[in-house]
Every structure is written in C-alpha cells, then in structure tokens.
Symmetry: C2
Subunit: 354 residues, 2 copies
C-alpha cells in the first residue's frame, strides 16, 4: 500500500536508504540516509544548492563549455558566473584560481564532463578540493551519467575524496530510468541538511513520493542494478556502432570526444561551421543533433555536435551518420553563423538519430 | 502510450486545455491554455510567483492569520511580509493600505480563507483589485479548496473579475485528488508567461508528465467532475456530523468558523489556551489536530483548532469530538503556552481524528 499523503521534504526514507547503499558501492560516495534528499531532477538540485549556499551576485566557477541548463539555473539565481576552461583533465583549477580565487562555489561534472566528455584527473580533483577547503567554497558535483562507463573501471565520485564536507553530490534517474520521472537525489554535507530542508520545504514540499516508493522497490529488488548492467551492454553496442560509423564515413578525419562514458559523444567541426543552423535543418529532416557552440559562453565557441546514441539501434547508426555527413557537406562553407540553443533537457538521454 | 521524455516547463498541453475548460465553467476563471502552467503543488506556484514578480526585500501583504506554508515560502524568498488582518469579509484592504500602500503583492485565499474560513466579499474583491491596479501590485490568489462548497453556490474566482491582468491564479489537485500527487496549476497573466517559463525552466524543467497524462485522461473522461460531486456529498455529510457533534458536546458554546466550504473548520478557544501543546498531546493519543495560534505572526494569536474532517467517517465524529473535549478539559487553565507548528502540509486534506 502506498501512502497518498504528503511526505517530508527529504523524501522516502526507504528510497534514501537504497540510494545511500547504491552510492556507497557504485560511486564511492560516503553518506548516511539522513544526508540524502530526493529531488525532482538534477536541475532542482542545482537550484536548491544555489539558493541555500550562495547569495545573489556571488561568483561561481562554471565549466567552459558546459550544459546550457546549468548556466540557465545559475543565471536565474543571480550568480556571477566565472567561465573556467576544461581540457582533457577536466576543469582547469589553476585558471579558475587566477580568474577568481575567492569564488563561492564550483559547478563541475568530474565523471563525464558535458559536453566535451573529459574525466577529471586525480590531481585536478585534489587541487579542486584543496582550493574549496582553503577559501571555504562549495563544490557541486553533477554526476549525471556515471552509471554507463565503457572499457574501463568506473571512476569514483569526487565526493568520496572530500574530507572537509565541501561537496554537494547530485545524481539523477533521468539517464538510468527515464527523464519524465523527474527524479534525482543529492547528498548534502551533514551540517547543511537543516538549511536545505528549510528551503526545499518552501519550494514544493518534496518530490511526489508515489514514484519514490516504486523506485525504492525497483532498487531493493535488484531490478535497478540489472537494468543498468543490461543498458550498459546495449548502449556500449550503440556507442561502438556510432564510433565505427563516424570513423568509416568521415575516413578518420572527424575527432570523437567523450565516448568513454554516458550516452553521448561529441564531434568537433571546423571553426565557424554553423552548427546551430545545421542542427535546425537536421531537425526538419528528423535527425536530432545538439549543436556544440551554444555550450560556450558568448559567441565564438567551438563548432560541433553532441550526438546522443542511447535511443538509436546500432543498425541505424550508419544511415544517421551518412545523413549527418550529407548535411555538413551541403552546408559546405561560407554560411552565416546562427546562434542559440532550444534549451531542451537533452544530455544524451533523448534520441539523436531517427 | 505515454511519453517518457522531458515535457516543457508549462506541462502537458492536453492537461492545460482540460484545466482551462474546467476553470472557465467551475471557477469563472478567464484563461487560454497558453497561460496555464502545471506546477508541483500550490507551494511551488507561490515560490515561482515570488521569484518572478518580486525582489528580495519587497513588501507583500499576507493574510493574518494565514497558512504557515505561505508564510514560509515568502520568508524563504526574502520578502518583507505585511500582516493584514482578516475579518468576516476576508482581508481588510483598508488596513493593508494604511500599513503599506505600496506593497508589491498581496497573497490571498478569497474563496475560503485559511484558517478562519471567510469568503471575501464582493466589495473587498473590487477594492483589492482597484488597489493592485492603482499601485501596480500583483495579487496571488490561492484557490486551494474551492471545489467543495456546501449549501450555497460556489463563489467565482477573483481572477475572473480582474480587468487589468494583475492576478496570478493558483489551484491544486491536492484536495480533489491526493497530496502525494504533488500537482497543481497556475493561470499567469499573458504578458508574464515568458518570465514564468524562464524561471520554471531553471527550477526543475517541469512537473513529471506521466501523471499529467493520467490526470488529463481523468478529467477528459468525466471522472474528475464525478469524483468532485461524489466527494462533495461525502465531505458534506462528514462536515454536518462534525458541526452537530461540536454543537451537542460543547452545548452550543463552541464557535465554528469556515464550515461553508472545504475540508476543515476552525474552532476558537479562550485566549491563552495552549493549543499547540494540546495538539501535541492529542497526537500521542492518535487524535490529529492543527493548532490555530501558530497561524498568526508572533505570539499572542487566537487559540483554537483547525479540524480537518475529510478523512473521518461521520460515525466516528462524535467520539473524536468527545476526545477533543476531554483533552481541553484535562488542560483546564494555567498551563504554560507552547509555541511552534510542525509545518506539515495539512490544510484539511490529511485526517484529523483517528
């Protein structure tokens, strides 16, 4: 029997216990159920964190490029965003310190940076934690798709390395179950739990707990772990098909980034390629691409495409890549650069392709 | 087939159309589906409204007494709350104007004020609208339980009288379906829709739309209207049983307020009665009462109880009222006044009684 009344702002105790156990073994996250808050998606987790931890006008490090919705939520919270570039080792902490040493927070996706796909290196992780501890800043770790990692061992979460309770850890069921569920979770440093509860209670009283009970059952009965294993195999095949199709169709001339994990990979295009315009045209032809350049602040960002492969059967990948190639060729050179993203929730969980 | 992907921040188009039609006939609300936003409960509607319409430190009129969660959300938004007393005609607009003529907003529940139960009179409604239009303030109309009205015709919403797009109308499914659904709706003035969408998109991307599709079916197929009719009869009987039990057990000496609508009524107790303490004691004995005094700002509020009758079968009402009477008698006089509410979501939809 499921309860039809209000649940607390932290969410179902049973689900929080299940998540806690899962995060311990799967992600190396240290937590007690009392620190886990169920949220209505990771977007809400970022919004709550900004409201609890930061004042309007506070400076916050944001990965450059980053997920547009991360930037959107921080903008709505009135934060001053400091763009910190990302390289093959993740966010470049030294540049962040030079640009704004006294920032109040850093928003990072260390397991699988969006959209360039880097995994933050161990030394950068320690450097980031050390900085946060030194200046009293918060790290908000967005671990949105770490469940799917191919070929190598999963990387433990940054939160597990933190000895000073500076990290707020954010996870989601959007990639492992489905986005319409609007359900995620956050692990809050113990001494901040009360403040988070107070704000959450003012926001919406908590996430619908009908679903929470179902998801708790799903995890407790072992379906969740089995589902992830099964999907990892499936997505692994789709990823392989996409990588191979790109190699074949583009004759090895198209660089592929971020394919080690998750449900998307990113390809770069020559500077000035109107990726947004091509993506819009592709959509008319029922090929769904996310342009890379809007993930950068301002104009002049790297052109490219973020290709979600989670929703496309392997055997359709070749056709999708040929379609992409055709679109790029049709655009050739010299077209005017178009700007803007459609702001959808997509981080690889909605289908590219047909 | 239900869609598993993200929906827009406004919510399901089909559900918004159904709500729009329902509000037109049942509540006299003027709206187009493009103005209806699905929210995760009315609490979220208040939170979004505060974020979009008001700056930190802005003054806002709040009914005195009021629903504690309304005060909580406005406090979290950093507003300066101006307590405006409520009498038998609802919020006393003239007092509001004297206390703070230039407030930026008024938060009101004109159909069935919580917790005193007044219905705002026609002249007060016009006075409130006239003030809002004159000073450019917003009215946030919380119409949380207007579906259940006994003995007299339903009162149309304030929004329907508004000729100047100053009213944001808020409704909820918590009272008509169930609170764990976490679903409500708001009607936004046309020229503010974009601003609301922008903030909502930063907050949580939207309400889970799986449920939305189910609720849309439920309304479209006529179940919702039938359900409300059936529940109005049932709650009407329970309300009658409670009113009669109070009259009988207290020998006509206990004043009953707000029983014309909704799922609660309120009784007053002699000044200084420790209502919060008695409620706490009652809870230990499995009788659920909400104390009245915490609904007032500061200490010294009117003592009493808000008695939800929605969840108690009529035949148990007599026993519940005798239990209440016993508790009040046991406390007699002279006990220390206790403060504080537990901050649950209760506005009559969770059971008082056993």
């Amino acid at each position: 029997a499921y309860d039809l009344h209000y649940s607390g702002p932290m969410g179902s105790k049973r689900l929080r216990e299940a998540i806690c156990a899962y995060l311990r073994t799967a992600r190396g996250v240290h937590s007690e159920p009392g620190q886990v808050m169920i949220v209505s998606g990771s977007q809400q987790a970022l919004d709550i964190s900004a409201r609890v931890l930061l004042d309007e006008g506070s400076a916050a490090w944001v990965e450059e490029p980053t997920y547009w919705l991360t930037r959107h939520v921080l903008q709505a919270a009135g934060l001053r965003m400091v763009a910190v570039p990302v390289d093959g080792e993740g966010m470049d902490v030294a540049v962040g310190e030079r640009r704004c040493r006294t920032a109040r927070a850093a928003f990072v996706a260390p397991s699988h940076q969006f959209p360039l796909g880097a995994t933050m290196s161990a030394s950068r992780r320690l450097q980031l934690l050390e900085w946060a501890n030194r200046v009293g800043a918060w790290i908000i770790e967005d671990d949105y798709d770490s469940e799917y990692r191919y070929g190598s061992m999963p990387i433990a979460a940054l939160q597990g390395l933190d000895r000073n309770a500076r990290v707020v850890y954010v996870g989601t069921f959007s990639k492992t179950l489905f986005p319409a569920l609007r359900m995620g979770y956050m692990v809050i440093p113990q001494d901040l739990v009360d403040a988070f509860v107070r704000i959450r209670h003012a926001m919406d009283l908590g996430t619908p707990h009908f679903y929470q009970a179902v998801v708790a059952d799903f995890i407790e009965e072992g379906h969740y772990a089995r589902h992830i294993r099964r999907m990892r195999l499936l997505y692994g095949e789709r990823r392989k098909a996409l990588v191979e199709s790109i190699r074949k169709e583009f004759d090895g001339k198209m660089e592929v980034m971020g394919a080690e994990a998750g449900m998307f990979l990113t390809v770069k295009l020559p500077k000035g390629t109107p990726d947004t315009e091509i993506a819009r045209e592709a959509a008319k032809e029922k090929l769904w691409l996310a342009p890379l350049s809007p993930a950068y602040t301002g104009s002049g960002g790297q052109a490219g495409f973020i290709l979600g492969f989670g929703g496309i059967p392997g055997e359709e990948m070749g056709r999708a890549v040929r379609h992409l190639q055709d679109l790029i060729l049709r655009h050739g050179q010299g077209k005017t650069r178009a700007r803007g993203a459609d702001g959808s929730g997509d981080r690889g969980d909605e289908a590219s392709g047909y």
